[in-house]
Symmetry: D2
Subunit: 317 residues, 4 copies
């Protein structure tokens, strides 16, 4: 089978992953745990964990891979695919564009400056909020349910749940996201009520996973939408292709270009310090290291992925 054709890599991972994690952990003090969502500020600043999963479900891990953290922006990759499933490409790309922005993830500049005032892509906050409005369901509650069911299916973990404390923390402090959403509403991008849409948005951002869950979810992307373990298609291949493309061009905030150059794998980071990445056709990878660099990515996590990509020549380019 395809996922068993690199025994050397697997063996080296088993031998060296622990030491690589220790080396990368040394980068953590250069970063800082996000504090803008109060609940996140409790994360352990110097930790770093990783889980690499192959197509059979076998894993190599280092660190505390069962600790839970919230998906945050990582969820945007999956809600994008869910919106595509629910509405198709034409509708989705009438609400969000396909281009990286070069601006901050929560920037509103291009909404004001660039016609027609739709978010440049679905992975910046404005775009992800627009995408949340497109998740199927008559009510926000049904949309949240649908999203949660989708995440549970991808992760093959029916116990995935929303961390209500984080959800509340985000809702209470998310003035900038509210500002973004009302701007979108004014530009005609959002149809429903802002509060409802943001409830959906904060809910999927607050889904709690372990590092292992992250690797499991990544695995489905690595196999183009088919879960190789259950041998079951979960997402149409084209939608995974779209998601992977965005992960390359916009997945790591304003350091996506740098990450593409130094790692070269589709990835998505979150403010909780998580990074989901894939080695196409081979591995799903989940990483979490809460200390973030200036661009909002896990300082230690990025370092670790750079090491792995270099060691195993994993770049797509």
């Amino acid at each position: 089978m395809r996922h068993q054709q690199h025994p050397d890599i697997w063996q080296q991972l088993q031998t060296h992953l622990g030491e690589w994690v220790i080396q990368s952990k040394a980068q953590a003090p250069k970063g800082h745990v996000a504090t803008y969502i109060p609940e996140l500020a409790n994360a352990s600043e110097d930790s770093l964990s990783i889980c690499v999963m192959d197509g059979s479900g076998a894993t190599v891990t280092a660190g505390e891979t069962d600790c839970l953290f919230t998906l945050q922006s990582i969820s945007k990759v999956f809600t994008l695919m869910l919106a595509l499933i629910d509405h198709g490409e034409a509708v989705v790309f009438s609400k969000v564009g396909m281009e990286p922005t070069g601006d901050d993830f929560n920037s509103m500049l291009k909404l004001e400056l660039v016609e027609p005032g739709i978010p440049f892509n679905p992975l910046i906050n404005a775009g992800a909020i627009a995408i949340s409005s497109l998740i199927g369901g008559d009510t926000p509650e049904k949309q949240i349910e649908r999203a949660l069911a989708f995440f549970r299916d991808i992760a093959d973990n029916p116990s995935l749940a929303i961390n209500q404390a984080v959800f509340k923390s985000e809702s209470d402090t998310a003035h900038r996201n509210r500002s973004l959403a009302y701007f979108l509403k004014d530009n005609g991008v959002l149809d429903g009520e802002v509060d409802d849409i943001l409830r959906v948005y904060f809910s999927h951002c607050s889904i709690e996973v372990s590092c292992k869950d992250l690797a499991r979810m990544a695995l489905v992307l690595a196999y183009d939408g088919v879960d190789p373990i259950r041998n079951k298609r979960l997402i149409p291949r084209r939608y995974v292709q779209i998601a992977k493309t965005f992960m390359i061009t916009c997945g790591m905030y304003n350091a996506s270009g740098e990450f593409a150059m130094n790692v070269g794998l589709p990835a998505k980071s979150g403010v909780s310090g998580g990074i989901l990445t894939i080695v196409p056709g081979r591995y799903g990878i989940g990483v979490v290291g809460p200390a973030l660099n200036r661009k909002g990515n896990s300082t230690a996590g990025v370092h670790l992925l750079e090491t792995l990509s270099r060691e195993f020549d994993w770049s797509l380019f």
Copy 2:
């Protein structure tokens, strides 16, 4: 008395104002009634009225000067002075700056781009929302009451009231203002709840006045805060000076510079087509012509004021 020392002007106004209004009305078709607040779209597109009031309360008028319209942005000049009365200069200018922006009245660019992210001045929407939050009163209701009482006192008209249909219309459609307010909240400019502050803001924007009321209110500014009719100080002179300065530099949206060059009087326009202006030490003037030019000012109203200023050499410069 000071306000009776220009008999020639008064006589000429009585003789010519009607014909000047007719000439300026010809400009109305170049403009369009604002439609972004649905209730405003009902205004008569080709009308133009003016009331010039001297310090004795005598008036020269043309057009239907008793028709009512809402103050809209004109109210911002008075709420600024009220906030100064309630909190003083130090507090007010910690929340808003003193500079014209060159951007649109509802722009958010400088909130994102220019430290410390406070509105550049109190007459753009962002600034006026910040100012609304500073009107004295424990609750939004008390703030609204206080504002209304202030406007009634300035206009010497206890029957001034909020047009509830316009208020509702503005509240329901003001996504951009909501976006602005949440951005300000995120930047730490607003202390209270956004919904409460916007209720105050929409309320004073929706106060209904006649052209004559406008001239009466302007008169108090023309006499530096003293009502010359009741011979009573209503506003500290320094705060009127501050207001008049902003009226010159930012009173006519992004055409303030042009208006200063061609009229040269402190003025404030509103999206309902009203313009309040003063001849310092002499006249209060109210104008209303609902058809707006590209910059948001009454097309015919600006033309009329250019005529008057040129005829009587009224420019301060």
Copy 3:
């Protein structure tokens, strides 16, 4: 005569100006001498001089009012009037707008973002460069000659000259101005060669004056274009009105609004620390204090003018 009707002010100036200068000098250490033009960096950081001249040519002075400095941006007010004399309002305002920008004096943002890509006003660098191209003369040399003759006439000082060391210093280091000029050229705002136009621009910026010259030049503006000493009209009144309006709305860079509020007089500052201001119908005032605040205006000079305006209630507002 008009300029002799305020004997109290004159007497108070004679009595107190020296002490007010000493008080304002205490502000100088909060500022810094401009270094971006190397020649300017040699100015004495803690000096402050002022010359107030009335319509008879009588002066009250404090500090070393004969020391020479270059006009820099102060020259822009006069080249604007010269361009108006040479081409009229229609041509001039097809090349520059009438509005304050809120952006830095050397910003290029609005050239890229706001149609039709002409400078917002003639007092920011982009606008002043466009204005330099409109000074009459077949060659840059003739344009420079014409400008110099105009400045000499206004200052009633045939020995005004260009400081060649400053001129060279500016030419050699003005990459940003070159960038601005080529952007303007690309936008169709400039007709001639960029190098020629910048030679004219740097030349009039490098004209050297004393504080007394500055007061003498201001006097002509204070009397609406007539030199009250020679009793001779030098500039059409309308063009002085235009200049004075811009001095109020844009004369002090991005602190024009603040200056209008705290001083309330038409003024123009330069990076050499000079400020030209007027009390309309009465005085021409020249100030120089090389230490600049963050906004590019003389720290001590602004403080001194605030004191004078407050003491004598000079604000136009």
Copy 4:
């Protein structure tokens, strides 16, 4: 050999390429030949040519693949690699960043707004000008020689030459590029003289190639820097990897994201209508169709590459 392992694709290309080109040509009328460089305006608006070359040098072609056109922005990919060869990654990435911008290719916004004011990437104009300054050589002439020699080597065509008419046309009209260059100079990004650097820049933009040359050059990138025909390494693999990454994230101007999603191959377009793209490890592809879409890419060329990628499932994602 690696490049002979897809006989089906090759056969289908031979059978269908002609008809696909005819289909894509139908898109040409939706675009327009660039006119901002006068010499380019002479191109045939409705033409479309393509050359696909495999690792043995065998080709499948359609259209007039020997017609010459200038490289324009396509040259930027190769000068980037040359600058990397001459200075290494550390120096190069101290002068340009690694991120897509979302702004126009000639935008100056981020140079003014985002610290430290270096171009966001080497493929926008500002970045490519900075890169031109880093090509080895004591004089502009030597730099141009060195660049030309490099291009000739990559294309394995010693007769590649600079089209002097295009070079002159670009030099004479490139006010915006001059503006960019002086801004960079002011920001400390450029060391040499602007005129010299632009001479180098316009020279490599004006190198003339055929569609076949383009495919030949692409082939070297498809084989990670080794020319598979001469079996000779021409560029270090890491530098090709860097170039390919930028081609994915920024190669198609502000439609790079869309191209990545619909084609998924590293590519670079030029305003002459050329597109260089690769199928990694297999083919070098040159396309030229002068009619450009709104984003500056060949309308028909993009359509053709979308067809090929879809037919053969060539996307990297």
